[in-house]
């Protein structure tokens, strides 16, 4: 019985160690990078507690002390990822002070939605937009029927539009109550994967740069250089932009990944999730994929 338990312990320990250590490597391959996606909040907590429980078991088994130490280290590494995205960590982008909070002309509200191209519940998004009344709406995975539906209902409320319908799940639509200028639709890295760069004029007259991106997802059998390059390219552009920058959309990445940390170093932009908690956007698995798909959203010179 004890021998059986030891083998189970070795197997679980190996899985925990591999899935903790491999995403730290620089290997840009979906099977490796994708492991980061499994680190969503609850799964991380489960990992943490599983490691703690296994550590306790290991200490009771003959020669289990080493396994216990390894598992304890894994738990600490997992905790290290978690804690940055909780309220126990110092916020990276700060809340607005009273004067800034009162100055509504300096505010901007944005709604970002990945509609999932095959989803045809146009009315759900239209109703949500009408309830929330954001200044800017960004929808990704939109094809022509999606844009037609949004435009037929919301054109009167949103005067400025950037429409990039695509049948390959990489379509983008931006609609805004605030004036948009310098709008560009580019395919900067991979043909067929567009992104949007524009300027938004706030009520105060000040402008902010808005990047809307939806790079390729990490998949098991493919490298992630396309996605990583797209995200990095936007980061480098934002770093050299004279305007304060907002990067949003669906980055097909998670807040704690190596790619996102590199993006932040390249851009100098701030992550509002740090010190505030997770915001998981992905609900369930699709086509065998599973995990959280989060929107990275960062700005300089901003209050929150």
């Amino acid at each position: 019985m004890i021998v059986y338990l030891q083998w189970v312990l070795i197997g679980l320990t190996s899985v925990l160690v591999a899935s903790t250590v491999l995403p730290l490597s620089g290997v840009r391959f979906g099977a490796i990078r994708g492991l980061s996606f499994f680190r969503l909040q609850f799964f991380r907590l489960q990992f943490f507690w599983l490691a703690v429980v296994l550590a306790a078991i290991a200490l009771l088994l003959p020669q289990g002390r080493w396994a216990g130490l390894v598992l304890a280290a894994v738990a600490l590494v997992q905790l290290g990822y978690i804690v940055k995205f909780t309220r126990f960590w110092r916020r990276q982008s700060l809340g607005a002070d009273r004067a800034l909070a009162a100055d509504k002309r300096s505010h901007i509200s944005l709604l970002a939605a990945n509609v999932k191209q095959s989803n045809r519940d146009y009315d759900a998004l239209i109703a949500l937009v009408r309830r929330q009344r954001p200044d800017v709406v960004m929808a990704v995975e939109v094809d022509q029927p999606w844009i037609d539906a949004l435009e037929s209902e919301l054109a009167g409320e949103y005067p400025d539009w950037i429409k990039v319908p695509k049948d390959n799940t990489y379509g983008i639509c931006v609609m805004s109550r605030l004036p948009l200028s310098e709008a560009e639709v580019r395919e900067v890295v991979t043909q067929g994967v567009p992104s949007v760069r524009t300027a938004v004029t706030l009520g105060s007259g000040a402008q902010v740069r808005l990047y809307v991106v939806h790079p390729e997802p990490p998949v098991f059998h493919h490298d992630t250089k396309g996605r990583d390059s797209e995200i990095a390219h936007v980061g480098i552009e934002a770093a050299h932009d004279a305007l304060s920058a907002i990067v949003t959309g669906d980055l097909n990445d998670v807040a704690w990944s190596r790619t996102t940390r590199s993006f932040q170093r390249l851009s100098g932009l701030l992550d509002p999730r740090v010190g505030r908690g997770f915001s998981i956007r992905f609900m369930r698995s699709t086509g065998g994929r599973d995990g959280p798909w989060t929107t990275c959203f960062t700005i300089r010179n901003s209050g929150w």
Binding site: I236, L266, S302
Partner: protein, 62 residues
């Protein structure tokens, strides 16, 4: 920052409200890339731009 209700997609929509300050606010530095990282990234982007391929996942909706 708030997660909104589902709209029939496999993603939750997100809402963000920001205020633009007229000066950089005190905040934690996100760090900066060293020259080696910058060069590595720029090389990766350059190589990736040269590749000719179909975007990943284009067939998922079929």
């Amino acid at each position: 920052m708030a997660r909104l209700e589902k709209i029939g997609s496999d993603h939750f929509p997100m809402m963000f409200r920001l205020a633009l300050a007229d000066r950089p606010m005190e905040s934690i530095d996100a760090g900066s890339a060293d020259p080696a990282e910058q060069a590595h990234i720029e090389r990766m982007i350059w190589e990736e731009k040269k590749r000719e391929r179909t975007p990943i996942g284009s067939d998922w909706e079929d």
